[in-house]
């Protein structure tokens, strides 16, 4: 009989904010250690937490996006334990009444959506960062007090692919809603993965793998844990699967035991007395809801269903909210979606990639592109020329108007064209004879010659018309 894995995820994501969640120190990534630190972040005697409203609003925003129930009052709890990266000896978090509870969200997956159930989402502070070098351990307090959003799902996943799709999607949602930069390379996302195997609807023994620092590793953890547990089951050693906490060893690609449930730490939670309960009123929630942008799933449906973009193209545009917003602004300007898509994905993103720029740095106006597109549509320029013009426009910062009149103006003058055509026919007696004897595919040879002669500037439509007449 087949065993089905059941997986639940705890996703910790550092939030984007000006200052830390309980202090005035800046919340920003820095290569230099211990520069964004206030007395509060290092737990000096006498310090008090001051809650950052920006973080609260963003946490509520996330709770709204995840369709969570939001409690009437905001509380915080202390989670007490000793560890060198925890300067106060407790973490301020939310355990008994988190900011978002019992939510759900549709996640795009393969050929449809699937629903993920959210147990809760809560706001807390990050610990300092430990770095072990040789015999020494170094503490970097830059991270201490950075706002963290912890999202806890129900055990509702049954494959690695579902989990990764969910994580990727939430990352994108956080980026779209300006909740987090969600940059895994800066350690901004960490996951705990809970996995059990079962033959039926009852859940098997749950194993928790803590602190997995990339989505790729989440995938590896799931694979190796399923394999490990399956191996124990098939060897008849199922009872050895214990409710325990493990960690992922990147070198071996395997999970390693940390502690069993029996040794679980009692965190002695109690309400943080230094933060008075704060009323979350409906008006504030409504205001925050208005700040939520159209999310990637809805955009994807619009792009593929209404605009007819391919899924791949839609995904490319949706990779970043700024690009998607830029694409939308082209549509708002009246440009055909497919055309907008081709131009943005092709020349524009290519240019940005090459220059290492972001779309927010892109200074060309849509009007410039519209001008080029107009000239393309009315036949003034060819599509090849249009590409060249845009290329020049981007690299030389030239105005498309100047480019079209100076370099790319087509030769549409019939007299000029007829003259060129006559000269070509004159020196191509061989080809002319063959053409007249039925090799009609030589027509394109003559077109090519005209183009060669004019440096590609001959109006292609006129050229064909005139050639047809001449060659009759």
């Amino acid at each position: 009989m087949n065993y089905i894995p059941t997986i639940g995820i705890e996703m910790h994501c550092e939030m984007k904010s000006h200052t830390k969640v309980f202090s005035r120190a800046r919340n920003t990534y820095s290569e230099e250690a211990n520069i964004h630190v206030s007395p509060v972040d290092i737990g000096l005697p006498g310090i008090l937490p001051v809650l950052n409203k920006e973080c609260v609003r963003k946490a509520i925003k996330a709770a709204c996006i995840l369709n969570c129930t939001i409690p009437k009052y905001l509380y915080f709890d202390r989670k007490n334990y000793y560890y060198p990266d925890l300067p106060k000896g407790y973490q301020i978090t939310q355990s008994h009444d988190p900011i978002g509870q019992n939510g759900k969200i549709l996640v795009p997956f393969q050929d449809g959506d699937f629903e993920v159930l959210i147990h809760d989402i809560h706001l807390e502070e990050d610990s300092a960062q430990l770095e072990h070098i040789g015999r020494y351990s170094y503490i970097n307090y830059n991270r201490s007090g950075v706002p963290l959003l912890e999202l806890v799902t129900e055990p509702c996943f049954h494959s690695k692919e579902e989990v990764i799709a969910f994580l990727e999607y939430i990352r994108r949602v956080y980026q779209y809603a300006d909740i987090s930069l969600a940059d895994a390379t800066k350690g901004q996302i960490r996951c705990d993965v809970n996995i059990s195997l079962s033959k039926d609807d009852t859940l098997g023994t749950k194993v928790e793998v803590k602190n997995v620092n990339s989505f790729a590793n989440v995938g590896a953890v799931i694979d190796s844990e399923i394999e490990r547990q399956l191996h124990l089951i098939t060897c008849g050693r199922a009872e050895e699967i214990e409710q325990e906490t493990r960690r992922f060893d990147e070198e071996s690609g395997e999970t390693k035991r940390m502690r069993s449930k029996a040794d679980a730490i009692d965190y002695k939670y109690f309400v943080e007395p230094n933060i008075p309960k704060i009323r979350i009123d409906e008006k504030m929630i409504d205001e925050i809801k208005k700040e939520i942008p159209v999310l990637p799933r809805e955009r994807f449906l619009k792009y593929t269903k209404d605009y007819g973009l391919t899924k791949v193209d839609a995904q490319t545009i949706l990779k970043e909210k700024a690009i998607s917003d830029y694409f939308d602004s082209w549509i708002d300007a009246g440009i055909e979606p497919l055309e907008a898509c081709n131009w943005i994905i092709g020349p524009i993103l290519g240019y940005l990639n090459k220059e290492g720029m972001k779309i927010s740095d892109f200074e060309f106006s849509i009007a410039d592109f519209q001008f080029v597109l107009e000239k393309l549509h009315d036949g003034t320029i060819s599509s090849k020329q249009a590409k060249e013009i845009v290329g020049k426009m981007l690299t030389e910062h030239a105005s498309p108007k100047d480019l079209i009149t100076h370099d790319f103006a087509q030769i549409s003058d019939e007299e000029v064209l007829n003259q060129i055509i006559s000269e070509i026919i004159e020196r191509s007696s061989e080809q002319l004879e063959a053409y007249k004897n039925g090799r009609t595919n030589l027509f394109s040879y003559f077109v090519g010659q005209v183009m060669k002669e004019t440096g590609g500037k001959a109006n292609p439509i006129k050229t064909r018309d005139l050639l047809e007449k001449k060659l009759k």
Binding site: P39, V50, P84, P87, G89, D266
Partner: protein
């Protein structure tokens, strides 16, 4: 109204003394006091005139050693912080600096404020200036000593159960703990955050009002601080209209028949209270008995212990010696933390931290911690109901005068538990609460405590000032004109 601060300011204004003369005289007295009472952890050799033209310009004072003072050793009287020099200023200290007050030193206390004797500091016992065989009371022991001895007109303390008000009573001075949130706790080393208050020790109600007017106020660094910009304590004292006031005492505490073997001290304290009641009536202050659930009263001490120990275990978890505090040689960081705490904390603190840890454990939390919170709430609700009928609660602060340092000489009757611990009610509810001296029992001062409803500080101070005038207590160590 008597006021040592106003007197000093008048002397300055009339050029009867210069700040430098006052400083010299103060430091001399402080050194004598240090010899006699061990009041200071840090006493400066020299202080500078303040250029701040604030309300307390060149008024000298002392600060309890659990307020963060940048660049000045701050130990909370604990070995775990014996070398700790803070890098930031407590809001209270900052406000006093801004007002021109001049700090002369940091006072000895019970370690981290967890204690009521003044006997648990890492620098040794604090002795009562009126009788050095006696305790000064705690935890703001040194602060009470230096004010009682006339070294300074005021000192800052902190009060989690009665840590300002009890030593004030034992040393025959005024101890005032305003409404929770009136004074910022930023920079006050936390003991039990939900009950910690900044308080002030003075020799008069007027001075207490003056100092609190300076140090109170909403602080963006303390979310529990409140805006009190419309509350003016001195002004309201000066313009008091002498309306009749109604106070109550708790019958179950003041019924001598409830005490199986009442001591002479207790009888004398009660008789002082009776006299006070009679005299107060003539002055328009009625004092009547009200009944209070005895089960709740008996639960005050254990509720206090349970809640404060729980918060303390968490609050003191930052003492690991990783970033500050003396580090012990060890093989790894866990050993180092363990050695630091094992060596650094006194046995009293360890006992309390173990209690705190125990009541917070998952399997015990409901039974102890959560239940204690319920009892706290019930007591506060009962008090609020009474405050709707009365201006305040009035009770003696203890059985008699200051206890002996030699604990074996002290009465330890269980009957006294309620009387000795009732002032924690003020911390449960964050109520404004003030202790003033009300006379002597066997040659030692005893105090009377008045507690009012939240934010009714002006009223509480007005009542205290009227009683103060009526009692006309004379400090044996400081001759002051009335």
């Amino acid at each position: 109204m008597k006021s040592a601060i106003k007197k000093l300011q008048e002397d300055y204004a009339a050029h009867r003394v210069t700040p430098l003369q006052v400083f010299q005289d103060t430091l001399l007295k402080a050194r004598e006091n240090q010899e006699k009472c061990n009041s200071f952890v840090t006493l400066f050799d020299h202080v500078e005139e303040s250029s701040q033209r604030g309300d307390l310009q060149n008024v000298v004072y002392a600060l309890k050693d659990n307020f963060s003072t940048k660049g000045i050793l701050t130990t909370a009287s604990s070995n775990t912080l014996s070398n700790y020099v803070p890098v930031y200023d407590a809001t209270v200290y900052q406000k006093l600096k801004d007002a021109g007050a001049v700090l002369i030193g940091k006072t000895t206390m019970d370690e981290f404020g967890l204690g009521g004797t003044g006997l648990t500091a890492h620098t040794g016992y604090v002795f009562n200036p009126l009788d050095t065989t006696r305790q000064a009371g705690g935890s703001s022991a040194g602060s009470a000593c230096v004010v009682s001895s006339g070294v300074v007109p005021f000192a800052i303390g902190s009060d989690t159960g009665d840590s300002v008000r009890k030593p004030a009573a034992y040393c025959g001075i005024v101890g005032y703990k305003p409404t929770y949130g009136l004074i910022s706790r930023y920079g006050l080393f936390a003991f039990a955050s939900s009950m910690d208050h900044v308080g002030v020790l003075t020799r008069s109600v007027y001075d207490a009002a003056m100092v609190v007017d300076v140090i109170k106020g909403k602080d963006e660094k303390d979310m529990t601080s409140i805006d009190s910009s419309s509350m003016h304590l001195v002004e309201s004292l000066v313009h008091a209209n002498h309306q009749p006031k109604k106070l109550f005492y708790i019958k179950e505490i003041m019924d001598i028949t409830k005490y199986s073997k009442p001591s002479d001290e207790l009888k004398m304290t009660f008789s002082l209270f009776e006299q006070l009641t009679k005299k107060a009536k003539e002055k328009g202050i009625s004092i009547v008995g009200e009944s209070f659930d005895e089960d709740l009263l008996r639960a005050i001490a254990s509720t206090y212990t349970c809640l404060t120990c729980a918060e303390a275990t968490s609050n003191l978890s930052n003492l690991t010696s990783i970033l500050f505090g003396p580090q012990e040689e060890a093989n790894d960081v866990n050993e180092m933390m363990m050695a630091h705490r094992t060596k650094g904390f006194s046995s009293l603190i360890k006992r309390r931290l173990i209690i705190g840890s125990y009541v917070l454990q998952k399997e015990n939390q409901e039974k102890y911690f959560i239940n204690a919170q319920r009892v706290r709430r019930l007591i506060v609700e009962k008090m609020n109901a009474l405050f709707s009928k009365y201006d305040g609660l009035i009770l003696p602060c203890s059985e008699g005068g200051a206890k002996y340092i030699d604990e074996s000489k002290n009465h330890t009757s269980d009957d006294l538990r309620i009387l000795e611990n009732h002032m924690a009610i003020g911390n449960f509810g964050g109520f404004p609460s003030i202790t003033i001296p009300c006379g002597f029992v066997k040659g030692l001062p005893v105090g009377i405590n008045i507690t009012g409803k939240v934010l009714d500080d002006c009223n509480v101070l007005e009542i205290a000032a009227r009683l103060e005038e009526m009692i006309a207590y004379q400090n044996p160590l400081v001759k002051e004109e009335m």
